[in-house]
């Protein structure tokens, strides 16, 4: 059987009515070992802040294990770890969430992927959500990451967060322009 999938439609400007109840900006407690804050700003093609967007975060735990039955590797998972966040932007288009750096996870053709966070971005004006990734600075495995290797060299830095003080990283999203963030066809 093959059924036609339901098309995507925009979340529109009023999604907070339906989605806010499950907002989650702390994937781990701020005092948890390895906790860090990842923050940034979301800008549109005119360089204006996008105040009505929602980010969804999906990532592995510190061990590299996903809290999902399809990850059958015997790696430790912190109690209560889910790996999901839902983070709306504020009036200045800013977002911030607290999490840990995930471990490496398997990739295509038995290659390991460097630690990364999957990010979905939804907003009015996006008929389908965008998908991108956050990688970590000073991470040697980035050089061998099979997904980063598919991205034109000049654009790779848009996927790598930058240090922004102790236990803090900064990563911006540019929807268009010379520093346009790399988005994936998923």
């Amino acid at each position: 059987m093959s059924l036609i999938p339901t098309p995507s439609q925009t979340v529109g400007p009023y999604f907070s009515l339906g989605l806010d109840a499950l907002n989650k900006t702390e994937l781990c407690a701020p005092e948890a070992p390895g906790a860090l804050t990842l923050s940034g700003q979301l800008l549109d093609g005119a360089g204006a802040p996008v105040a009505d967007a929602v980010l969804e975060i999906w990532q592995a735990a510190r061990s590299g294990r996903y809290a999902h039955p399809e990850d059958r590797r015997e790696l430790p998972l912190e109690k209560d770890w889910k790996g999901f966040g839902r983070v709306p932007t504020d009036r200045e288009g800013r977002f911030s969430f607290t999490t840990v750096k995930p471990g490496a996870v398997p990739g295509p053709a038995a290659q390991m992927q460097a630690p990364h966070i999957v990010v979905l971005v939804g907003m009015r004006g996006l008929l389908r959500h965008l998908m991108t990734r956050i990688y970590f600075p000073d991470e040697p495995a980035n050089e061998r990451d099979p997904i980063l290797a598919m991205v034109p060299l000049a654009r790779r830095p848009t996927l790598v967060a930058q240090p922004a003080g102790p236990k803090a990283l900064r990563w911006n999203i540019n929807l268009q322009g010379p520093d346009e963030t790399v988005f994936f066809s998923y």
Binding site: I4, P5, T10, V11, G12, H129, L175, Q176
Partner: protein, 234 residues
């Protein structure tokens, strides 16, 4: 770790493009650079799982969240969440939001000159059951104007957000009502080029679930992406 079976990609016209000029907000928000084709790895085929702790028992009845019943036409909206292979998606989180019967959202940025209803917030959520069924009780949302083009009105719709098994099957969509004359004029609805795919967005009148003396029913099945055969199954 064995090779992972990915999910089938959308075919041309089966999903909207990012840049769709008739919907003017896409022009500054659609990516300008080509997307990078992402293979489906463990990071994509896994995704968040939700449980009973995430939904209240009455969260699927939008008509009992306040002191009195909301104004408007009470309706039942139900259906199943399936994947394109016809497999049911159990325990899928379904979240909905909508405007009230007068076409006004209980949201601070909605300034449409239509009354708010103190008895209607317009949000609900539930998990599908073991057979993929969901069911909401709500009121029929009104049409409302927007500034996309001259005399632009959105057809009545309910926003749906669904989490299936993997993050790559995540779907946010809108449900429309059959026979709505505004559908022909709505760029968001018409952004999907393929007619059969677009008709997935239109609920069907559901006489069998319509309850005498109480509420009309609509059926809206939601089809998530289907998985490729695993290497073992090929």
């Amino acid at each position: 770790m064995p090779e992972i079976a990915g999910y089938r990609r959308a075919w041309f016209g089966g999903q909207p493009d990012y840049l769709y000029p008739p919907y003017t907000s896409t022009t500054l928000r659609a990516p300008g650079q080509p997307l990078v084709l992402l293979p489906h790895t463990l990071s994509e085929v896994t995704g968040p799982l939700f449980g009973v702790e995430d939904v209240g028992a009455a969260d699927n009845d939008l008509t009992v969240q306040h002191q009195a019943a909301p104004l408007g036409e009470r309706i039942i909206v139900s259906g199943r969440v399936l994947d394109a292979n016809g497999r049911v998606v159990p325990r899928a989180l379904v979240e909905i939001w909508q405007c009230n019967a007068a076409g006004r959202y209980a949201h601070k940025v909605d300034n449409h000159d239509a009354p708010l209803d103190p008895n209607f917030t317009g949000c609900g959520r539930m998990l599908t059951d073991a057979e993929g069924h969901y069911r909401f009780v709500t009121i029929k949302p009104g049409a409302y104007p927007w500034r996309n083009h001259y005399n632009a009105w959105r057809p009545g719709h309910i926003h749906f957000s669904i989490f299936g098994q993997g993050i790559v099957t995540r779907l946010v969509t809108q449900m429309y009502f059959p026979g709505d004359p505004l559908l022909a004029y709505d760029p968001i609805f018409n952004s999907t080029a393929d007619d059969k795919a677009r008709q997935r967005l239109v609920a069907q009148f559901d006489w069998e679930n319509t309850q005498p003396e109480w509420a009309l029913a609509y059926r809206f099945d939601i089809i998530l992406r289907g998985r490729e055969a695993t290497p073992m199954e090929r």
